[in-house]
């Protein structure tokens, strides 16, 4: 039994309408499952880019380090 319209009423005029009716009138029965939209998954692209940048940076840093070390050794 629904509780929302079972409060004691003095007169028929004061008796509220059933919830199913007011929900239908106010469009509250229309809720449907959320329709999910497909979105592009770019995580793999970001992952590749990040790894690539990291490799370039590591190679650059190591190259500078090795080059500087070799110069010192020559001097």
């Amino acid at each position: 039994m629904m509780e929302q319209d079972t409060t004691l009423q003095n007169t028929i005029q004061e008796r509220p309408l059933p919830k199913w009716l007011t929900d239908q009138r106010d469009g509250l029965n229309q809720y449907q499952p959320e329709i999910l939209e497909m979105k592009d998954d770019r995580s793999l692209t970001f992952s590749f880019a990040f790894t690539g940048i990291l490799i370039v940076l590591v190679v650059a840093v190591l190259s500078i380090y090795v080059l500087k070390k070799r110069r010192k050794d020559i001097i």
């Binding site: 039994m1 028929i12 008796r15 059933p18 199913w20 009716l21 029965n29 449907q32 939209e37």
Partner: protein, 262 residues
Amino acid sequence: MNILFIRILALAGLFGLACTTKVSEWVLLNTAPEEYQLVCYHTSQASESMRQQNENIAAELKNANIKFRTAVRENEKSPWYELSYKNIPFARFSNAGELKGLSSSPVREKIADEIMAGKLCVMVFLKSGDEAKDKPRLNILRKTVATSPFRSVITLTELERNDTDELHFISMLLNVEDDLKDLNEPMLFGVFGRFRALEPLAGRGITGENIGLMVDFLTADCSCLIKDDLPGASILFTNKWENPMPAMVNRIFDEDPSLLHH
């Protein structure tokens, strides 16, 4: 091109998940009626005839949406029966004779036949017994249904408040909400599914607009909200609900898609 095709396929699948079955049809096919409970209270000195009587009652109620049990109470003067719905007692019977017609009656049989035949619903007009109150509301009901595009799938049934063959049915209808028993007004119950009665329109609430909203509710797409919290109450009835006829309302929508709504 492949990615576009996969996207279209995925979206079509998600749209397919949204329920387009109408409320009345979905409830009839998927929602089992809620159970009543009948308890026979007696002392441990129960006679053999009473045991036999209770076995007969259990056999009679076997296929109905009700559970029957006995309970021993030593201080009972004589056996009696208590009928509950959702664990709330609402009717008391002093002997087994008063249980006659508990799970079935002529009007209930007729209503079930209409629903199983594919009708949208049966609108049960429960009269107050006061002609001055009943007649205008009945006229509104008849006029509204007669002008509805769904008139061919709605059945009207009038019920006198003191109909002796339908006392149990009337008692269950008046138990749909707590305050109905004290309300001396005509009432309109929408009965659908496996004998589900909506909370009624009462007295001046029986208007063309509200009757239209009742039809809208039953012909709308079945939403999660309705599935999760189905309004109304189940009525006790003995029937098998398997293999109903296809819902007639779908034919009306096929012929006139402009009537479709949510």
